[in-house]
Symmetry: C2
Subunit: 281 residues, 2 copies
DNA sequence: CCCGGTTACGCTTGTCGTAAAGATT
DNA sequence: AATCTTTACGACAAGCGTAACCGGG
């Protein structure tokens, strides 16, 4: 179960070829063959069928473990390395689109910060891997409940804000005049599915349209044009250039944003983190 | 970042001694020294102070990663090995005390099952490591919300039941006559803290008494005798030999129990899992 | 036949143990 | 002085590459 063997195993499984994996990893075909043979003899099981190359059931199972395992290993390495390196003045912050708000903007120092907007699902991994010093993620949660994040590595999580939710409804829609809606009212509605922005997965019904970008403006435009409803934080929905923001009152959910830090942040990152957690809302 | 190096690193840190770690791991002191040196040169950082042997800040950080990492690695190995081994007729089920109820008892086949009662926090690790084929955990959650479990490994989680909560109150207590209580009513109450059984950690106030066992009967006796209140599933509290069970109506929380399975359960474990998820409640 | 995975074999590298040296209390 | 870690060094095994081998399309 050497990580090197695991790494070539996932490469072979992904590429469905020993030789392609060898090229990708800078080994010879022979070495890759020996790696797989070593793994299989260690576990006393066939992990791959040859010709065609495909994982056996046991191989499938190992693949489920190997990915997170290698991710954590790399994250651990990067984390310690970053801690050891002299803290540079620059701070890079990974953030999901909806976490970019007045709070973040007022907490940023005048200079020396790089912002990296990513789909919420990728933020924890990027922070864990040490590519960014801090992370901001947002999502749906019951009031004052923490978010459910994948724990790729031990990260410090701090809640830094909660907001009401609203549904962005096109102007002509029958519900557009309501002062508030319940999710039940919208049981048959068609929702926009935007994994790059978040919030949508909470709704169970079949989505009307997939949007793969991270651009909030585009999502609002789609919603206002009637391509489907969008679930957004109330302030964001209010600020949309078109469409009507109707607060969602049931179930009691809020839009929550949290700060992720690898261990205790150091140096310049610490200052930003402090302003985010303790600073003005 | 070889797992072997990591393993000796945690051993050295835990024992605060190179030579003790060497004895424990079956190496010579020299080999341990070389392991640590290899890690430190790889990460280009001091991880331990010598004389006395203690982790540096970077070492502390690495320790946080190393534990879960090694656990997952071992879990992955055990999982694949177990899948590969011919499924024996015996099934072992790890369960937290409060998950043992009529549902489980009726789902068990007449023979071939070993039950292992553990504190809820240990159940996921035991299932992940393949020591048990199935796991049952219980805990507090908002209705129809999944439990928050540590993800030591990719486990299949299935909710199999939710119950109302109740507070077990000694007979003479002022609240004993109430038809229902809110958590606010009990803000100043003293709670029993029983991590081996669960549920207590949801309450924030300082506990009156720690109970480290997993025996439900003992906990009920303590509560009935006035040593502190106990938060229990309503049916369990009702069945207590003494004390009064008062339903908890606010906040809206339920006692939830979930089934953990490593990947898809196989053979005899599958049959038990099916009866637990689909069987009579 | 050709493509691709396996096996054989030599070489390099890494890893462990023994033993001597160095440091710290 | 005693204890514990480090360093030096030799033996052994592991891992990789070259090259020959085989099994399917």
């Amino acid at each position: 179960m050497d990580p090197h063997l695991l790494r070539t195993f996932v490469a072979v499984a992904r590429l469905a070829s020993f030789s392609a994996a060898a090229r990708e990893l800078g080994y010879t075909q022979s070495a890759v063959s020996q790696h797989i043979a070593a793994l299989e003899s260690d576990l006393r099981t066939e992990l791959l069928t040859r010709r065609p190359v495909a994982p056996t059931p046991a191989g499938e199972r190992l693949l489920e473990h190997a990915g997170p395992l290698l991710l954590r290993l790399e994250a651990a390495r990067a984390d310690v390395l970053r801690l050891a390196a002299a803290p540079p003045g620059r701070v890079t912050v990974a953030t999901s689109p909806l976490a970019v708000g007045p709070r973040l903007l007022s907490a940023l120092p005048a200079t020396g910060v790089t912002l990296r907007v990513l789909p919420p699902a990728q933020v924890p991994a990027v922070v864990a891997a040490g590519e960014c010093d801090l992370g901001l993620v947002d999502g749906l949660a019951a009031p004052s409940d923490p978010l459910r994040l994948p724990d790729v590595a031990p990260l410090r999580v701090t809640g830094i804000g909660e907001e009401e939710l609203a549904v962005l409804i096109p102007a002509g829609h029958p519900l557009a005049g309501r002062a508030a809606v319940r999710l039940d009212d919208l049981a048959d509605a068609r929702w926009l599915d935007a994994p790059g922005i978040g919030l949508a997965p909470a709704v169970r019904t079949a989505p009307a349209l997939h949007y793969d970008g991270t651009d909030l403006h585009a999502l609002c435009a789609l919603a206002a044009a009637g391509h489907g409803l969008a679930l957004l934080p109330l302030p964001v929905a209010r600020a949309a250039p078109a469409g009507v923001a109707v607060p969602l009152v049931s179930p009691r959910l809020v839009h929550r944003t949290e700060l992720l830090a690898p261990g205790a942040p150091t140096g310049a990152a610490l200052a930003v983190a402090a302003r985010l957690t303790g600073g003005p809302s």
